[in-house]
Symmetry: C2
Subunit: 258 residues, 2 copies
């Protein structure tokens, strides 16, 4: 490390996982213990316990790039900054915003930067459901804040054509409440109505709720921003467990006789 | 829990993450501490420390379904079994094999079953590289042990058409050494040669190695079975970091003016 970098403090982008302590990686816990400053979206900053000497810089949603610039500025001022993110910071979260801020400002290169991964919402939801991601899959954000809606539709179409399992992030929007219904309608034109679908809401938190349905019956009104939607491939099926439980399975093999 | 289930022991499918202790979830560590029996592929079983009263049932690769049946049989015999998997058990790993075994044998429904997620190799590699999965992406296994190779090619094609970032699992095979070269050739016919590509080998382990290249220059000879290959979208780019470091970025926005 150069003298300049040592003087510059440091920046860690830290994944907090979906919520429970059992799903926080030890590396993330250690990074939080070393931080002098927390930067992030209000509910994620609130998850980190108070500690003497730990400054909090919580901000509202949709200001990711400002937040990232602020974190670099604090680090250049000698602070040890943790930018906190729910789930994994690399999946539709703060790692990209931080690297974008770095790309726009060469002075930020003096800051030692690392990304500390976390358990993604997708993997947590899959664990509760069984093995819905046991075969090839795609992760798609349905938000059209940062990309045109026709790109979302094109990706849903190509993913359906490739018969991938789909993990749909950011499925609901108060500003655009019809988007998920439009997405389901598009998928229904390309896939069987009997395709298994799961809504996995707030997995790992006290208000966790799993809803198992099919593409034909999937009701967008049951989905909010805390929900991850998983849509099966043509091979995904339900498997009976004990005590009335059903598991969602995307088998390892594809195209094999049943 | 019913009396039958209580007598039946239990089965947990446990994700060990990519390797280092800092990437093992506390829930996984707790599940391992409760286990009387470990079942899994030899190198994963070997990762769990010895402990009095812990029986080990390590098996070679490609016997996943036998391994899953054996785990259920042990649990029916009253043992508390942890089926261990590298990375996340839900991603091209043991969770699917265990649910498939459950599907084939109704007697296994008496066994209380849970999946304990883990940090996937994909998320670990992404953290080292920056934010390659910061936008919509697909995970595809290149193995044709369990699906026809033409399905692999079709998925690569549709994923390229949708301009997804690609995370390629199981990219190398001693039995079929030309597969990755064939996959790169197919992608080169559909995507720019300058598309950023990363080979992330053994991330988190002592022999970790990152190789940054492009689709045009990607050399399959540098890839082995411990490597995850990430191929960018049309928007993925390199970002200069400090000290000669380059980061791989798939920006949050898509189709925006640069």
């Amino acid at each position: 490390m150069t003298a300049a970098a040592a003087a510059a403090g440091s920046l860690a982008v830290v994944g907090l996982g979906p919520g429970p302590a059992g799903w926080l990686l030890p590396e993330a816990e250690a990074a939080l213990a070393l931080a002098t400053d927390l930067v992030g979206y209000i509910p994620y900053v609130a998850r980190v316990p108070e500690r003497a000497g730990l400054a909090r810089h919580a901000s509202d949603n949709r200001v990711e790039i400002d937040r990232a610039r602020h974190a670099f500025a604090l680090a250049l001022d000698g602070r040890h900054v943790a930018v906190v993110s729910g789930g994994d910071p690399g999946v539709f979260a703060m790692a990209a915003a931080v690297i974008e801020a770095l790309d726009a400002e060469p002075a930020f290169r003096a800051v030692p930067l690392r990304i500390v991964p976390g358990l993604s919402a997708m993997m947590a939801a899959a664990a509760r459901l069984g093995a819905p991601l046991g075969h090839d899959f795609c992760a798609i954000s349905l938000s059209d804040n940062l990309k045109p809606w026709d790109v979302v539709l094109r990706r849903l179409g190509t993913a359906a054509e490739g018969d991938f399992v789909l993990a749909l992030y950011n499925p609901a929007s108060k500003a655009r409440p019809t988007r998920l219904g439009d997405a389901f309608a598009h998928l229904r034109s390309l896939k069987r109505g009997a395709t298994p679908v799961a809504f996995a809401r707030a997995v790992g938190r006290p208000d966790e709720r799993l809803h198992l349905t099919t593409l034909g019956d999937a009701d967008p009104a049951l989905v909010d921003m805390a929900t991850l939607v998983i849509v099966g491939s043509s091979e995904t099926r339900w498997v009976e467990g004990g005590a009335g439980r059903r598991w969602m399975l995307s088998p390892r093999s594809y195209g094999a006789p049943r």
